[in-house]
Amino acid sequence: MRPFVYARPATVAEAVGLLAIHGSEARLLAGGTDLVIGLRDDSARPRVVVDLKRIPELGPGIRLVGDRLVIGARTVMADIAADPVVRRHWIALAEAADVVGSVQIRNRATLAGNICHGSPAADTAPPLLVYDATVVVAGPDGTRRLAIDDFIVGPHRTALGLGELVTAIELPVPEPPVGAAYTRLTRRHGTDLASVTLCGSVDRAGVTRLAYGSVGPRARLVIDRTGLLADPTADDAAKAPILDAMFAEASPSPRSMRAGPAYRLAMLRVLGARAIRTAIERLGEG
């Protein structure tokens, strides 16, 4: 690893200050499961590494505040996956958090870090899109909130500006209630990076929200309001054309080592149908 300077701010304001001074030469360190790999393979060459873990304001914590779930930036995947409140109302997020790497990775990797690293294959992006999450950002000009769909810009690119960092992620309690499921395509049953990520939710009003990733520069959210996808009595043949239309924007890379484009496009449909079926079942179970 190339040497760097290590900073350990005690407040969000200090962290913002460091980022504002050093700009792109500073990198934030939360769980480190992406950054430390980057430091070793030289894809990350910061002058300053800013460790966020001494900042109490950043959590970790999972709290229901009124009609929103607030997840502190330092919250790790293992805790999200195990949290009973998350599992009750946002099961797809828990499912996604539960497959990010191994137990060892999940004890370090943070939700905030996952979306800031911005891999198109990030497991948590589709559920956050489906659940309409909001990203809370602190910066030199104060705090702002962005919809997750606006926060994710492209591969490893977010809407964070100079001096900004994520302080929390908020999810509204789904209203009306939804049934949702997360699924993905991997090369083995064991821990793996996903070749296709999918999250689907259905509600009693017949709205189906489907978010998918790893088949283009960023995860995408598409919504079907016809009610057909959410209909438990409709068969696969009837749903297929709607799904096809929803996946029209998918553009898997032809150069990927993990899966070929034709396979990924086909699996979007196969797994998409399965995710929706599970979501419908879960909605039925209440």
């Binding site: 690893m1 190339r2 040497p3 760097f4 300077v5 290590y6 900073a7 350990r8 407040t11 304001a13 200090e14 200050g17 460091l18 001074i21 360190l29 480190g32 499961t33 430390v36 790999i37 430091l39 070793r40 002058r47 300053v48 590494v49 460790d51 873990k53 293992a78 790497g101 191994s102 137990v103 060892q104 990775i105 004890n107 370090r108 064991g190 821990t191």
Partner: protein, 175 residues
Amino acid sequence: MTDTLERLDAIEAAAIDAPTDHLSIEVTVNGRRRRLDVAVHHTLLDVLRDDLGLTGTKECCDVGECGACTVLVDGRAMNACLILAVEADGAVVTTVEGLADDGRLSALQAAFLDAGAVQCGFCIPGQLMAARALLDREPDPTVADVHAALAGNLCRCAGYEQITEAVLAAAEAER
């Protein structure tokens, strides 16, 4: 705010001059409080093996995929190769060397031997630490629980069946 900026300037000035940033940290390793002067770019794995001579924790993939470097940090199983040593300042770390009780094998270690879970042995420290973390939070795990908890520990000798038996036997012995 002015204080903060001054402090930041001071950190800045001090840090940028030093070719290798060092920090003095305090970490409890296997029950012993240690004060160490570490380079900030050295990982916990580096420091355990090279600075403390605790070579029981192994180095393999360096990307957090194989689990050979698994240690407990504040009771949780983590890959030491992905933790900068400075991040462990103030933490309680347990390595495989910390499992035996006064030179006597723990029930978990004995179970690994009795079940034939140990072949070349290189993955075993990591497996033991991941198993320790599992049993600490789930004293009565199912086979599926064990498989999931140890999924981040690769074994090329593929002694998974025996490792699973060992963890279940240890769970029973500890109950």
